[in-house]
């Protein structure tokens, strides 16, 4: 806190700026000092650097992926043979609920947001997220939510009514004990985290793009981040409302879902699935972003039909909000109304179809190099389209009435989620691994793990189509012999272990390459977007000078003489704000410094949330520490003496 001037003008030290006269190592040392964070454990906890928080999101999400994966293997063991007794009914029910909840809320959305947090600032050419402390806070909320759910699982009050937790089974009478409360409160945690990240991403993309990067020159991945974040902002409140209503029904005896007091179990389903369907697109659209980037780089040309791909992203984002009732075709709502949702569910596949055409057209007119990321893209196209087409099949009411809640649906959503999101994610990790660590992942091990996961996946999940058509419902801990379900389940179980092996290989590849991977310079793939203009791994401040952009493929067009902007302060954290449409420089904005208060606020909010599951008084007594922590977090920093802005 610089001392206030006491009446007479003190001599102001000159404000240091990066400019033509301050370049090279001298500039980088000063920027390093300004943008680095305090050492030690407290410093680590207080970090607000988007790269650090991005990495934490990704590692935590992969941790939860592994945990939920183990549950999946345990379930497949139980379902390998009819009338098996490896997992009892209550243990199996808890296993598939934890698997579903963890995969959807603790892995899929957070990992995509983690990658977005890491890449967006360096792809749009800025030094930090718009709200760095809010990003840090969101990670801790996500972490505490995940820990609370899994603590519940290990302490026998994990949820066991399915990842959707329908009422009245999860209601106060049939949802015994604290299981459904743990589920609902976990949702509150993860939805607060996801909303916080979405808000910071939208602000960063709109206001902090490098000068010259108009909306039409933004990388496709940044477009997918923007659309996904806006979908999070519009869909998460629905699940927040429904988990809040469920908690108040269960804890203080309100009557929202009590059919006798004219509450309605279908109100729960409408609210849940209004969030539920956009949720799966929130997971899928970032994957299309990865695919577009990888296809462009490995085909040595920009994406074919840029405006079509962008409009498809926006189209998918909007249409996703109009078709949630296809999850409720069997609940006895008016039949003619259902056909509207059939049409809407069919329509949402048109934008994706166009995107796929554009990717194939890009490969057609490019010179594709079949390296590991490109293999994952091809695996994605082959697998995801099967899932998309089975999606069209279940969009039709007469077909869905037969296959709804059977293993055909399990096959469908694993094709579109693993095929559609996990394959591009693995490709993206291989693609951006050098940028994160400065080392290349092994190409040979990458190839083997790709083919293993691709074939293992088909072996594991294609027979589920057949099991579904042979009449096997979802979420059954066992099935009788003699219904023809033995072979498909056996194949699925074997396939699931092959997939597990492949994931293990991928993780080994990541770990080994961290030390012994081949060194990668700033741009190992000779790609086009801005993140390859800075070092690998990027320094604290990302760019010595904020780059300027004049086309969609800056690095390909101006390989060595990338224009830059001068004038940002060096002695304090400052960002360049640019206008929303044309990204022309607008104003310079100070950026928040590292602080421990987001963590303390997260702890206070977590204690309040977890306490409120056991007694509503926790909301009252928890409010005070939360208030104090937030006040300290937002305590204003007195601005230092200002020199006039100098843009050279």
């Amino acid at each position: 806190m610089t001392p206030r001037s006491k009446g007479r003008a003190t001599k102001r030290e000159p404000v240091l700026r990066d400019g033509p006269d301050l370049t090279g190592s001298d500039l980088e040392e000063r920027l390093e000092k300004t943008w680095s964070r305090p050492r030690g454990f407290i410093g680590w906890l207080a970090s607000v650097d988007h790269k650090e928080i991005g990495r934490r999101y990704i590692f935590t999400a992969l941790g939860f992926l592994a945990a939920a994966g183990l549950l999946a293997l345990h379930m497949r063991l139980q379902l390998m043979f009819p009338d098996n007794d490896i997992l009892g009914p209550s243990a199996f029910n808890e296993a598939f609920t934890m698997h579903g909840t963890t995969m959807m809320f603790l892995f899929a959305v957070p990992v995509m947001q983690g990658v977005q947090i890491y890449l967006t600032p360096i792809m749009v050419g800025t030094r930090a997220m718009a709200f760095p402390r809010l990003t840090a806070f969101s990670y801790y909320m996500y972490l505490f939510g995940g820990l609370f759910l899994w603590a519940g699982h290990f302490l026998h009050f994990g949820p066991d009514n399915g990842w959707f937790n329908y009422v009245p089974l999860s209601g106060p009478q049939y949802g015994v004990g604290k299981r459904s409360d743990a589920w609902a409160q976990t949702i509150t945690f993860t939805e607060v985290a996801a909303l916080a990240v979405a808000v910071t991403l939208v602000a960063t993309i709109f206001k902090q793009r490098a000068p010259g990067m108009t909306l039409a020159r933004m990388p496709i991945f940044v477009w997918s981040t923007l659309v996904t974040s806006l979908m999070v902002v519009f869909s998460m409140p629905a699940i927040a409302l429904v988990s809040g209503l469920l908690l108040s029904d269960r804890l203080v005896g309100t009557q929202f879902f009590n059919p006798v007091e004219h509450g309605d179990p279908l109100l729960y389903q409408h609210l849940f699935w209004f969030f539920g369907h956009p949720e799966v697109y929130i997971i899928f659209l970032p994957a299309t972003g990865f695919v577009s980037e990888i296809v462009a780089t490995f085909s040595r040309r920009t994406i074919f039909g840029y405006p079509i791909v962008v409009l498809s992203l926006v189209g998918t984002g909007i249409l996703a909000f109009g078709l949630w009732v296809h999850h409720m075709f069997a609940t006895g709502l008016p039949r003619v109304g259902y056909s509207f949702y059939t049409a809407a569910s069919m329509a949402v596949s048109i934008p994706t179809g166009l995107q796929i055409f554009c990717w194939i057209a890009t490969i057609w007119d490019g010179r594709p190099r079949l390296q590991v990321p490109m293999l994952y893209v091809i695996g994605f196209i082959v697998t995801f389209v099967i899932g998309g087409l089975s999606g069209i099949i279940i969009a039709a009411v007469p077909l869905d009435l037969q296959v709804h809640d059977t293993y055909f649906i399990v096959a469908h959503f694993h094709y579109v989620l693993i095929g559609g999101a996990v394959f591009p994610l693995l490709g993206a990790i291989t693609y951006w691994y050098p940028k994160l660590t400065g080392r290349m992942m092994s190409e040979r091990l990458g190839n083997i793990s790709f083919w293993t996961i691709f074939l293992g996946f088909q072996l594991a999940f294609f027979p589920m189509h057949i099991a579904g058509l042979m009449g096997m419902p979802r979420r059954v801990y066992t099935y009788p012999a003699g219904m023809g379900l033995e072979l498909p389940n056996m194949l699925s179980s074997i396939g699931s272990f092959v997939v597990a092996l492949a994931v293990l290989m991928f993780v080994v590849n990541m770990a080994a390459s961290f030390r012994r991977g081949e060194r990668a310079g700033p741009d190992p793939w000779d790609a086009a977007s801005l993140e390859w203009a800075t070092a690998s791994p990027p320094p604290w401040y990302n760019f010595a000078h904020i780059p300027a952009v004049e086309s969609r493929a800056p690095l390909w067009d101006l390989k060595d003489d990338l224009p830059v902007v001068h004038g940002l302060r060096v002695d304090d954290r400052e960002l360049l704000m640019t206008s929303v449409i044309s990204a022309s420089p607008d104003v310079r904005e100070p950026s928040a410094t590292p602080s421990i208060w987001p963590l303390i606020s997260a702890i206070a909010v977590a204690v309040t949330f977890i306490g409120s599951v056991f007694s509503p008084w926790a909301l009252v007594f928890g409010a005070a520490p939360v208030g104090i922590a937030l006040t300290a977090w937002f305590w204003p920093k007195l601005p230092g003496p200002f020199a006039e802005p100098q843009i050279t």
Binding site: P259, V260, E261, H262
Partner: protein
């Protein structure tokens, strides 16, 4: 001029003579019979044979077979009722719901208490009416566990030197009026199946008519006639089952198509449900000596969850006319087919000669039913002459006089999984068991009744013999206007209310009308009130020790003066929250009544005392 004077004097003399005789007559016991007096004024009059002139005694709860509850004594009038004072009191030592009226026969007062159903004889000739003898029947205590609406007793009857009464554990007893010795005791009902007996027996034509209670316990209802001398069962008529059980034979002529058919007692039930279908007889029986016919109502069908028993559920919630000798049914009219809200039809039935225009009169019966309609029916055939609501009703549109069928309002039937709100009248009905009084002087029926509505949710009821078989959650609350009780003076000829007195608490006490133009009734917080029979103005009231849910009576004491006696002891279904110390925090207590009388425990406490009033000497 003198001739005019003489004429004048003659005229004056005649007038004086006439006036003198008239005044003399007024005091003389033999007055012009009220029937001729009222008949000329186009009013309904009690059935001649069933309502002998008052002899100063009170030998049965209804006063007479026509159930008028009208006392012919006229000493207490609007003028002097204000000076009524306590003559003596008698404490029974019990604190359950005290519904039985004391009987007075030849200067002895017989007091019947709720459980343990003791019988006291008080010698009225001695000052303070000390007890002559006490009869302790010791009924089984476990009977209290299956008595749905409090271990109450609605009274005894005197006939031919004996007192006949029922015990809660299903026994009927005869006690010698002089010595208090038990003459005979017959076991009729089995508490292991949930059966109890709470009704007051009717003794007529040498037979004692007794019915069972337990509509909420999945009991099969019946009415039995015992021989007054030996206590043996002469005949027994069930309310459900095949025609031979229901004693329906060739003599049966149902007034409407809905009640015609063979074995309706089986066909109108899902398989096996008629055996646990209710239709108990725990209310009031009237008797017409002329046609030797008894009239009584049957209770609600079981369980309360209507979806579990589709069909009309014959012969529940309706009125039977039977021959007293053989029990053969003459006719049956079902007031509430397929009852939805526990609207029993056991209320009192008043036998009257009803004017139907141009001076013709027909033998009819009039009755304020629990479903809220005041029925006027031809006694001989059961056809409904008119049925108009005397309380607030929003669940029935009316009674279709052509088919006799009650028209329910669609959408108000409770189905499992979805509660129905604002059902008026509530389950205890527009008026529960507490009988009204009919005054031939004013021609009005004084109906002490309720103004309650309720929310109701039903679910599958599980039948285990001896346990409740209800399957419904109910919460009652005050009806429109906020008052929970009403005393309505109803003109049965014009079929409209002449005046209404709003009472804050539900009115659970029967009424008494007297020739002196006074109507007596009591409130649940203990006020014993006397009102003017014509205008309803409150003339006198007295605060008794506990709530009044019992029948006030009027008798001529040994000194020739008129005495009024009233039992005071809150309880029954409405007062259970006090007599059984229920917890007001649970609105569904006492089958939903707790919610309507949450304030009662703070306003009154339990008790069991008879108060006798008279004019100061």
């Amino acid at each position: 001029m003198r001739r005019i004077l003489v004429g004048l004097i003659a005229v004056v003399a005649i007038i004086a003579l006439v006036a003198f005789t008239f005044i003399l007559n007024r005091k003389s016991p033999v007055q012009p019979t009220l029937q001729q007096h009222a008949a000329s004024a186009g009013k309904a009059t009690p059935a001649e044979a069933a309502s002998p002139p008052d002899d100063g005694n009170w030998i049965m709860p209804a006063k007479d077979y026509a159930a008028t509850r009208f006392s012919g004594l006229g000493e207490i009038t609007q003028a002097n009722v204000g000076k009524l004072q306590v003559s003596f009191t008698f404490s029974t030592g019990t604190t359950e719901g005290f519904e039985a009226p004391p009987l007075v026969v030849n200067n002895v007062m017989y007091v019947v208490t709720p459980w343990p159903n003791n019988l006291f004889a008080l010698d009225l000739t001695k000052p303070g009416a000390p007890p002559k003898w006490e009869y302790k029947p010791n009924p089984a205590a476990a009977a209290k566990g299956v008595a749905c609406c409090g271990p109450v007793n609605r009274g005894a009857s005197y006939w031919n030197g004996r007192i006949f009464m029922n015990l809660l554990d299903g026994n009927a007893v005869a006690v010698d009026a002089e010595s208090g010795k038990e003459v005979w005791r017959t076991k009729l009902a089995d508490i292991q199946r949930g059966e109890t007996i709470t009704m007051a027996p009717l003794v007529a034509d040498g037979k004692v008519l007794v019915g069972n209670s337990g509509g909420e316990m999945g009991v099969r209802g019946w009415l039995a006639a015992l021989d007054a001398d030996t206590g043996k069962i002469v005949w027994k008529a069930y309310s459900t089952g095949p025609d031979k059980d229901v004693l329906i034979g060739p003599g049966y002529q149902a007034p409407y198509q809905q009640d015609k058919g063979r074995d309706l007692g089986v066909k109108s039930w899902p398989p096996g449900y008629w055996k646990i279908g209710g239709g108990t007889v725990w209310g009031w029986v009237s008797y017409d000596p002329q046609s030797k016919t008894i009239f009584y109502g049957t209770s609600n069908p079981g369980p309360w969850n209507q979806e579990q028993r589709p069909g009309d559920n014959k012969f529940t919630a309706g009125v039977f006319a039977r021959d007293i000798g053989t029990g053969q049914a003459r006719w049956f009219y079902q007031s509430t087919p397929h009852d939805l809200y526990d609207h029993d039809d056991i209320n009192e039935i008043l036998l009257v000669d009803y004017p139907i225009g141009n001076g013709r009169r027909i033998p009819a019966l009039i009755r304020p039913s629990r479903n809220g309609f005041f029925y006027v029916q031809d006694r001989r055939t059961g056809r409904v002459l008119s049925a108009r609501p005397y309380g607030m009703i929003n669940v029935y549109k009316g009674v279709d006089l052509r088919s006799g069928r009650l028209i329910p309002v669609a959408g108000m039937e409770p189905v499992p999984g979805r509660a129905v709100r604002n059902i008026c009248p509530a389950s205890p009905g527009a008026k529960d068991w507490n009988p009204s009084a009919f005054s031939p002087v004013t021609g009005l029926v004084y109906i002490p009744h309720l103004n309650l509505c309720q929310d109701m949710g039903v679910k599958n009821a599980n039948y285990i013999a001896g346990t409740p078989f209800v399957g419904a959650d109910v919460k009652m609350y005050a009806g429109p206007g906020g008052n929970r009780g009403v005393l309505t003076a109803w003109d049965p000829v014009a079929q409209r209310a002449v005046f209404e007195i709003k009472e804050d608490l539900p009115l659970w006490s029967p009424a008494l009308a007297t020739a002196g133009g006074i109507v007596f009734y009591g409130t649940m917080d203990g006020w014993f009130k006397a009102i003017d029979a014509r205008t309803g103005k409150l003339l006198w009231q007295f605060k008794t020790g506990s709530g009044i849910i019992g029948q006030p009576i009027s008798y001529r004491g040994p000194d020739g003066h008129q005495y009024i006696a009233v039992p005071s002891g809150v309880g029954g279904w409405a007062g259970a929250i006090v007599s059984a110390q229920l917890d007001p925090r649970d609105p569904s207590g006492a089958l939903g009544f707790s919610n309507a009388v949450k304030d009662l425990p703070k306003r009154v406490s339990a008790g069991g005392t008879v108060y006798v009033f008279a004019l100061p000497k």
